[in-house]
């Protein structure tokens, strides 16, 4: 449900950037979203379609690159994405440590026409 607010701030930021660049319209918005952000893509798409008409991003494509959450095993240094409801390493069963991978929440780039 927080996708509504996310989309509001996202479109504000995109619109501001596009004006700064003297763009006549925005064609693509490239996002990088880690799984830690708990964003539902369908919901984001829905609000995008609802909220872009009349803005520079009307008719643009919303492209999302998802990044899985990654842990590093403190024992064998294996990098893994947790499965089966535990943060233990699937190789050696030691407890892993969360890394920054998967916490991305970025507007990476926009594609514009001037």
């Amino acid at each position: 449900m927080h996708e509504f607010g996310v989309m509001m701030y996202l479109l504000d930021a995109v619109e501001e950037k596009a004006r700064e660049l003297n763009a006549s319209r925005v064609l693509v918005i490239n996002l990088v979203i880690g799984d830690r952000a708990s964003i539902v893509e369908d919901s984001l798409d829905y609000y995008f379609d609802q909220m872009t008409p009349g803005t520079l991003a009307e008719g643009a494509r919303l492209s999302m690159r998802r990044v899985p959450m990654r842990f590093k095993c403190l024992n064998c240094e294996n990098m893994f994405t947790p499965v089966n409801g535990t943060f233990r390493c699937p190789v050696c069963d030691s407890v892993g440590q969360v890394t920054e991978e998967g916490s991305e929440f970025l507007i990476e780039s926009i594609e514009i026409e001037r």
Binding site: M1, H2, F4, G5, V6, Y9, L10, D12, A13, K17, L21, L27, V28, L31, R36, A37, S38, M69, F71, P82, G85, T86, F87, V95, G96, Q97, V98, S103, F105, L106, I107, E108, S109, I110, E111, I112, E113, R114
Partner: protein
């Protein structure tokens, strides 16, 4: 017509973060320690606030901003328990507080009359996580009755909290809460995080938690703890 790709690399919620920074400046100017209280519904957010106020009675002037989808029950409760001031924000369905809601609420709050401000977020372990409010401390309250698997299921809130309060510790034997598994998961996400086991019902652990909290305020620049009876 030429299409141009322009690098942006900007946090999606940077608009919210900017407002949060301005809120933070207001807290700092008034030497008010601001705490964002996050938890699921029923974990005991309001009870933790009330118990902490009781433990700090005569030592800290406490204000509360209550975020709820509707109603003002919690505001009445904290005022009755001794809050100097309390403001209700009804989000009207929104699942979390945003920095601009706090900015608006601050216009109705005299920060100079406070030492400590609790911002009670909407009950939810997911949505509040990404919305900075300007707080100094992000507190996650979990109750034993919710289960030891919450850090595995909702990692982000545990990974990004400054402190965790494990409430309803008096129920731990009754609800099959596996302490070892809980701590293992919490420290995998947030290795240094302090965890306080408390019971708002019996009062267990409340004093230790409250002392930890006010120690953070003493560390704020130019703060003199107000000593009153």
């Amino acid at each position: 017509m030429a299409v141009e790709r322009v690098k942006v690399i900007q946090n999606i919620l940077s608009g919210n973060d900017q407002v949060a920074e301005r809120n933070r400046e207001r807290f700092d100017e008034a030497s008010v320690l601001a705490v964002n209280v996050m938890a699921s519904p029923g974990a005991g957010k309001t009870s933790v606030i009330v118990r902490t106020m009781e433990a700090l009675r005569g030592r800290a002037r406490v204000g509360v901003i209550e975020g709820d989808i509707a109603g003002s029950i919690d505001t009445e409760r904290v005022l009755k328990a001794g809050a100097v001031d309390a403001i209700q924000i009804n989000t009207g369905g929104n699942c979390h507080l945003e920095a601009n809601m706090i900015q608006k609420a601050l216009d109705g709050l005299d920060l100079s009359a406070l030492d400590l401000l609790f911002i009670e977020n909407v009950g939810n372990l997911v949505c509040p996580t990404h919305w900075a409010l300007g707080e100094h401390i992000r507190l996650c309250v979990l109750s034993t009755a919710e289960g030891d698997d919450k850090p595995v299921k909702y990692p982000e809130i545990f990974a990004t909290s400054d402190v965790i309060v494990l409430n309803k510790i008096d129920l731990i034997e009754l609800v099959d809460f596996d302490r070892e598994f809980f701590y293992e998961s919490v420290y995998a996400l947030n290795p240094q995080v302090p965890v306080f086991e408390i019971s708002c019902r019996t009062g267990t652990g409340v004093a230790e938690w409250a002392e930890w909290l006010v120690a953070n305020r003493v560390e704020m620049p130019e703060v003199l703890m107000v000593e009153r009876v």
